[in-house]
């Protein structure tokens, strides 16, 4: 399957479903991989100060091109053991609350924020519900919208619904070439709309979940190209492209005053929505 996929990416004619499989590939570079490849001296900062530390959503400070940045990211594992420890990259409310704490700290000290999105979604579990998963995500959306430092969000793998958006309200939202971003997984979409989750492939083709479609819709601002075969076939090359994209967009945003930073982000999301006005 993998070889087949590698060959197919060269042909540039991947189906949406094939991109879904690439985005979910367990060997894709994770947030920590990218942070370590593009920055120096990463210090992880833990805990939400209310309940616990969520290993599925990590954050910390590191030097990026000579300047400190607050990095935040969904963290998946590459093996089953790692994935169990990371809860398959599905964060609990404490993950979102930790992210918010760190983002507010970045604002306090005038540092830009870079987030890496790669999650099937926020965790649907008893504890997550009891501790306010919905509130935690909602709070992040509200607070991120008014931070006055630059925020760059990069969908590196799976951008799974509210769990992705919870760290996704950026001045710039970028996507890796073979990542996806959607309101629901193709399986979920198929099971709700066709009442048959096995029709996920079909649903994927009908959903606008790949980078080019989302660029057309202004949901994302830029696409970061991946080595042929996908980021996992040459993580260093993928990281280099990612780094250059962040440098480019950060440079642009740094020209703006802190008020303009907030304003640009608000306006970016304010204009999203398609409807018609009747006479």
């Amino acid at each position: 399957m993998q070889n087949k996929l590698d060959n197919l990416t060269d042909s540039l004619a991947l189906s949406n479903w094939q991109i879904v499989l690439l985005a979910r590939n367990s060997q894709r570079p994770s947030a920590l991989d990218y942070i370590n490849m593009i920055s120096e001296g990463f210090v992880e900062l833990r805990g939400d100060r209310y309940f616990s530390d969520d290993p599925a959503l990590i954050g910390g400070i590191a030097k990026f091109e000579g300047e400190y940045v607050m990095f935040i990211g969904n963290q998946k594992g590459k093996t089953t053991k790692e994935n169990l420890a990371r809860n398959f990259g599905m964060a609990h409310p404490e993950g979102y609350r930790k992210a918010l704490r760190l983002m507010k700290m970045a604002e306090k000290f005038g540092r830009p924020i870079v987030t890496f999105i790669d999650t099937p979604g926020a965790y649907p579990g008893i504890g997550a519900e009891e501790r306010g998963q919905a509130e935690a995500i909602a709070r992040n959306l509200l607070e991120m919208s008014r931070l006055n430092v630059p925020i760059i969000c990069v969908v590196t793998g799976e951008g799974g619904s509210g769990g992705a958006l919870g760290i996704g309200v950026g001045n710039k939202v970028l996507m890796m070439e073979y990542s996806i971003y959607s309101v629901i997984s193709p399986e979920g979409c198929a099971s709700i709309l066709y009442r048959d989750s096995s029709r996920a492939m079909e649903a994927a083709e009908n959903m606008k979940i790949t980078a080019p479609s989302l660029l057309d819709l202004s949901i994302v601002d830029d696409i970061i190209s991946e080595p042929s075969g996908g980021a996992h076939t040459d993580p260093k090359a993928a990281a280099e492209n990612l780094k250059n994209a962040i440098i480019k967009h950060l440079k642009e945003l740094k020209k703006l005053s802190s008020e303009k930073i907030t304003e640009q982000r608000y306006n970016r999301f304010r204009k999203l929505g398609i409807f018609e006005k009747i006479q």
């Binding site: 649907p124 008893i126 919905a134 909602a138 959607s182 009908n206 819709l217 929505g273």
Partner: protein, 289 residues
Amino acid sequence: MAIRESVADWFSKKKIKPSLDYQAEKLDIPGDLWVKCFKCGDTLYYKDLEKNFKVCTKCGYHFKLSFRERIAITVDNGAFIEYDKDIRSTNFFNFSDTKSYTERIEDNMKNTGLSDAIVTGEGKIAGHPVVLGIMDFSFMGGSMGSVVGEKVTLAVERAIEKKMPVIIFNASGGARMQEGIMSLMQMAKTSAALAKLADKNLPYISVLTDPTTAGVSASYAMLGDFIISEPGALIGFAGPRVIEQTIRQKLPPGFQRAEYVMAHGMIDIVTERKYLKDIVSKILEFTGH
């Protein structure tokens, strides 16, 4: 007294025909005189139910209210100025399941008499001028697409302009699947608008009714300065079935119901429908609006 006023409103409105979402809930009894309670199964005389704010006289089950029913028991004299009536959903992704999204919208408009899953506008609650958003679950499960997101945002922006409080009655299964990622973006848009409202120290009261889940709960519904819920309302991020399938164990009794959610610290008040208006009025007085 706020409650007396609303009861008076209720009686004055009793000529209003039951809405279609309600008829869908009914037993198939000719004349629509009797309805069966979903919780206790008791058969209730429709007029008694109507007089009791559509709360079961036997077990207290809160039936879902349509937009018109909610307005009638909430806004003084039913006086309501609607905002943004002219915005309509479009099938921009050309989506179709068993029928096309366009057809689905048209059917829902016909059946509910509404243009989408929320109606926004302004009116008075016990004398306090407020900007209101009232969601109606009977319109595509109260789902939020571009129109719901835009109407909420425009309503909040108008409240900022007019220095008025915002109160939203939520009833929603979440984001509207037919609008895909654009529905997801409405969560960010509406939450950002509420940040601006909060920056102006204007109050936002969120009322949760059955159900308030997923995309709507993970955005404006859970962002109230004050969060009030009707008894028994299902409130959560993920649906109970999804959670059960994920964790493969039975959910605790009362899980994700208003009382359970309040016990876990996520909402301020669970109140019976008949006291709602009085509580809202007290909160508005507290905020100085």
